[in-house]
């Protein structure tokens, strides 16, 4: 029994006790990373010094730590996948990984991780890669503080910034992603967290999220992406404290929700998006304490949505606060602040005494007859809208906030 | 100096001027007379370019007036009823016209002194009586020492004293060899002024004669009687 314990302890410690350190560099005895790798054993650390390394595809199949000093450059010459990690407990940190091969069949990446656990990729610069960081069938991995840049022009010609497929328990933290197809791509990823990343100026989505249950994304910034953020076919997602900004264009959304259920959207900021949140076939989502400001449409809630709650949000300076495409309303609105609300508060409980109908007649007209947008803010339309507000006849009258706030929430 | 050739003007269907031929020369003082609505004012306004003729031409010193507005530099015009911007003062109006004319020649302020308007100079036009307004019109007409004076009912509305002063001024200008064109109903007033008479009726010139000629043919001493006689003859 004692011997067994001892062996177990020994095995455990083999991960803790640092192994050898191999130095790689032009002035060192080992000139190539590949050479260092072949010399190394599990638990070793390879330190790579400044320089340009054009070694084609580097495969890491041992549990090693790969550290860069002053960002040595790993150049894929537009031909190779640069780093392929095929072992667990690997750390890659401090490299500049650039110019991976471009191909649409094998999806070459700057750093690609296959079927591994506990891999850490931190503090790297990834520049001009097809896919920057690619994880498949991994778990308990950390992707942290990487700066990822690409120069994609067309959706088909570029891969994703951080691409995660069939993973579990990932932490994606503090990365900056620009110019890829999707900033962060999640498909079949569970129990993971995306925290404090900045995803801006990507061609398609800032964050693309499908079939990924029980995840959370918190305090990220999604700015000026082609179509904003898409969360689809998923349950139990928590979206807290993110900022969705300047996602502009035809079919561009701050947040696009499709077939989502049992999720929680709390404390986010939706600013200057064509549509703040677009909901299709969503159910049992709570939208609470968010700020919707200066959007074209604060929220578009299609008639296929049900049992969603919109509670205690600020709607400020949106062209239209809410829009929908049908007359069926199965969602509730409560205690929101609407800057277009013109009611009064006689009993001074800070809740307006008159219910507010956030759906303007004109937004319904525009939904059915898009060119009518041309007449927006004309005197005629303002007149129509005002009369509709007083006596709703064409808009569904259960589309209503019965407890509109008189003052905006401090969020 | 002024040649009018086949001038006609229609206001809608109404023919106000019908084939008018006239020639007026330097040094003449012409009375333009005729019953109300005979086209006197329209003729004058045509000469001034305020009414655009339907047909015919007007030449001023040999040039067609339609092509060149500068000829109005040589004309002083006193309208029948002077209409001025209400909230300008006499002084401002005179100043403005002076500025517009940019006249370098010496300003003839005789009438200004004669009418003694200096102390009314800051009065707004809207507060003035009809007579005072006429005085302003007269001053403006003579101010720039023009070669041609066109006076539309100059003495109407003026008190006898002012009217006498104006007449003196007209005589003075006549002596300087200017062309003076006067319309008036009061023929008696014109006796000692005019050298020629144009009589208009229904838009046409009935006759254009010198005063001597007129007096000679009719044997009358007074112009008014002479004209009356001619009219009677025509009726018969």
């Amino acid at each position: 029994m004692k011997a067994v314990l001892l062996i177990a302890l020994f095995c455990f410690c083999s991960h803790l006790v640092p192994g050898r350190t191999i130095e790689v560099g032009a002035t060192k005895s080992v000139k190539l990373i590949k050479a260092a790798l072949s010399q190394s054993a599990n638990g070793d650390t390879i330190v790579v010094f400044e320089g340009i390394y054009k070694e084609g595809n580097i495969i890491i199949d041992k549990e090693i730590t790969l550290l860069g000093v002053n960002f040595p450059v790993l150049d894929g010459q537009k031909k190779f996948e640069i780093l392929s990690i095929k072992a667990s407990y690997v750390t890659v940190s401090g490299f500049k990984v650039q110019r991976s091969g471009f191909a649409t069949l094998e999806d070459p990446g700057g750093i690609k991780v296959f079927n591994s656990r506990n891999v850490t990729i931190a503090n790297n610069i990834l520049d001009d890669n097809f896919f920057a960081i690619y994880l498949q069938h991994c778990s308990n991995c950390i992707i942290k503080n990487n700066r990822i840049t690409a120069y994609g022009v067309e959706e088909q010609q570029i891969g994703n910034g951080i691409h995660c497929w069939k993973n579990d328990s990932l932490q994606i933290t503090g990365n900056t992603i620009t110019g890829h197809r999707d900033g962060i791509y999640f498909e079949f990823v569970t129990n993971s967290i995306i925290w404090r990343n900045i995803s801006k100026g990507n061609i398609r989505y800032g964050l693309h999220f499908m079939f990924s249950n029980n995840d959370a994304y918190i305090s990220n910034v999604f700015k000026n992406n082609g179509a904003g953020v898409a969360v689809m076919f998923t349950q139990k997602v928590k979206m807290y404290n993110n900022s969705f900004t300047e996602n502009w264009g035809d079919a561009a959304y701050g947040l696009f929700l499709k077939e989502i259920s049992d999720s929680y959207i709390y404390g986010n900021k939706f600013t200057k998006n064509t549509e703040g949140i677009h909901m299709e076939g969503t159910s049992r989502i709570k939208v609470e304490r968010n700020i919707f400001s200066a959007n074209g449409w604060g929220m578009k809630i299609q008639a296929s949505c049900m049992e969603n709650e919109v509670v205690s949000n600020n709607f400020i300076g949106n062209t239209f606060d809410i829009s929908t495409n049908g007359s069926l309303v199965l969602n509730t609105f409560n205690k929101n602040y609407w800057d277009k609300y013109e009611g009064y508060d006689l009993n001074r409980d800070k809740i307006g005494d008159v219910p507010y109908h956030p759906l303007s007649l004109f937004s319904v007209i525009v939904e059915n007859n898009p060119p009518a947008m041309l007449l927006f803010r004309s005197f005629m339309v303002t007149l129509l809208d005002k009369s509709e507000k007083i006596i709703p006849s064409l808009t569904p009258d259960n589309f209503v906030d019965n407890t509109p706030l008189m003052h905006s929430l401090k969020l | 100096m002024i040649e009018i050739n086949a001038l006609s003007k229609n206001f809608g269907k109404l023919k106000v001027l019908n084939n008018v031929h006239l020639t007026c020369n330097k040094g003449e003082c012409i009375a333009l007379i005729g019953p109300n609505g005979c086209g006197k004012t329209t003729l004058i306004k045509s000469i001034l370019g305020m009414v655009i003729p339907t047909g015919g031409t007007i030449k001023f010193q040999g040039n067609f007036i339609t092509t060149n507005h500068a000829y109005r530099n040589h004309i002083g015009y006193m309208p029948q009823i002077g209409r001025y911007p209400d909230n300008m003062t006499i002084g401002q109006i005179i100043e403005m016209v002076k500025e517009i004319r940019k006249s370098d020649s010496f300003l003839d302020e005789d009438l200004m002194q004669a009418f003694d308007l200096k102390n009314l100079i800051n009065k707004r036009m809207s507060t003035l009586s009809g007579g005072t307004t006429q005085k302003v019109s007269a001053i403006l007409a003579f101010l720039f020492n023009p070669d041609v004076l066109i006076l539309d009912e100059p003495t109407a509305g003026l008190d006898p004293l002012a009217s006498e002063l104006l007449k003196e001024k007209i005589i003075l200008e006549k002596k300087k060899g200017k062309l003076i064109l006067i319309t008036s109903h009061l023929l008696s007033e014109l006796d000692d002024l005019i050298t020629q008479i144009i009589f208009m009726q229904d838009g046409t010139v009935k006759f254009h004669k010198t005063v001597e000629d007129l007096k000679l043919t009719t044997g009358e001493e007074r112009i008014s009687k002479a004209i009356a006689k001619i009219l009677k003859e025509q009726k018969q």
């Binding site: 502009w248 035809d250 449409w297 803010r377 | 655009i52």
Partner: protein, 255 residues
């Protein structure tokens, strides 16, 4: 030319109505900006001012002023001045004073409070609507000698452009909703200076909505430098053409 304009401008600036107009614009603008906690709402209120009040005051005041200056015009006509010059001076004089009123009343607060790009667009558009409706006033007052009729025409034109036109367009939209009429709609706006002005501002004020599918058609046209230039050129034509027609008529007018 300058002297006549000077006289007209001074005359108009002495006029109490213009002073009151300036004052009302100023009170309105300063108050909407300082009362509302976000400047967007203030801008929306000002948008209505620019699209309705500014044209109304411009057109009615100008029409009345033109009729009231008939004496002045007559006085000038007996002087050695070209007719066209008199009419042009009157136009420039009126325009300058109303532009000045608008600039002092609305322009300064706009520049002070509004975001710079929206502000400048609003200012430009406001100045242009002023010019367009002064021009329309010239057009309507040359149409008839009758002052009441002329002012009536001016007000009717304002009503048409401000209200009825949009009603007609809305009606047309519903009638033709099955056809792809977006591009036609862009063309139709050219026939209404107020619509043109509104859309130019809209593109800045509701930029997020205008980036969507619906707005994209307009954004694609009016959002580009070329589109904006074309729009302003059309507005310029709206200034030029009514005045030009009135000028031709004035040259032939008997006074």
């Amino acid at each position: 030319m300058n002297r006549i304009i000077k006289f007209i401008v001074l005359d108009i600036l002495k006029n109490k109505i213009v002073l009151v107009y300036t004052l009302i614009l100023a009170i309105l603008s300063w108050s909407v900006f300082s009362l509302e906690d976000n400047s967007t709402k203030g801008l929306l209120t000002l948008l209505n001012v620019i699209l309705l009040i500014v044209p109304l005051v411009s057109v009615v005041f100008s029409a009345i002023y033109i009729y009231n200056s008939s004496e002045f015009i007559e006085l000038l006509l007996s002087q050695p001045i070209k007719r066209a010059k008199i009419w042009r001076s009157l136009f420039l004089g009126l325009s300058l004073s109303l532009l000045l009123s608008f600039f002092i009343g609305c322009g300064i607060p706009i520049l002070f409070y509004a975001p710079i790009n929206v502000g400048i667009m609003m200012l430009m558009v406001g100045l242009f609507t002023t010019l367009v409706f002064v021009s329309i006033a010239f057009f309507s007052s040359i149409m008839t000698r009758d002052k009441a009729k002329g002012i009536g025409i001016a007000i009717m034109l304002w009503l048409f452009f401000g209200l009825l036109f949009d009603g007609l367009v809305l009606f047309l939209l519903f009638q033709l909703s099955d056809y792809p009429i977006e591009k036609m709609m862009v063309a139709i706006t050219a026939f209404n200076p107020i619509d043109l002005a509104r859309i130019l501002i809209l593109l800045h004020l509701d930029v997020s909505a205008m980036m969507g599918y619906t707005g994209a058609i307009f954004k694609d046209f009016f959002g580009t430098t070329l589109g904006i230039s074309v729009a302003f050129f059309i507005l310029f034509l709206w200034v030029l053409i009514p005045f030009w027609i009135s000028l031709i008529k004035f040259k032939k007018k008997d006074l």
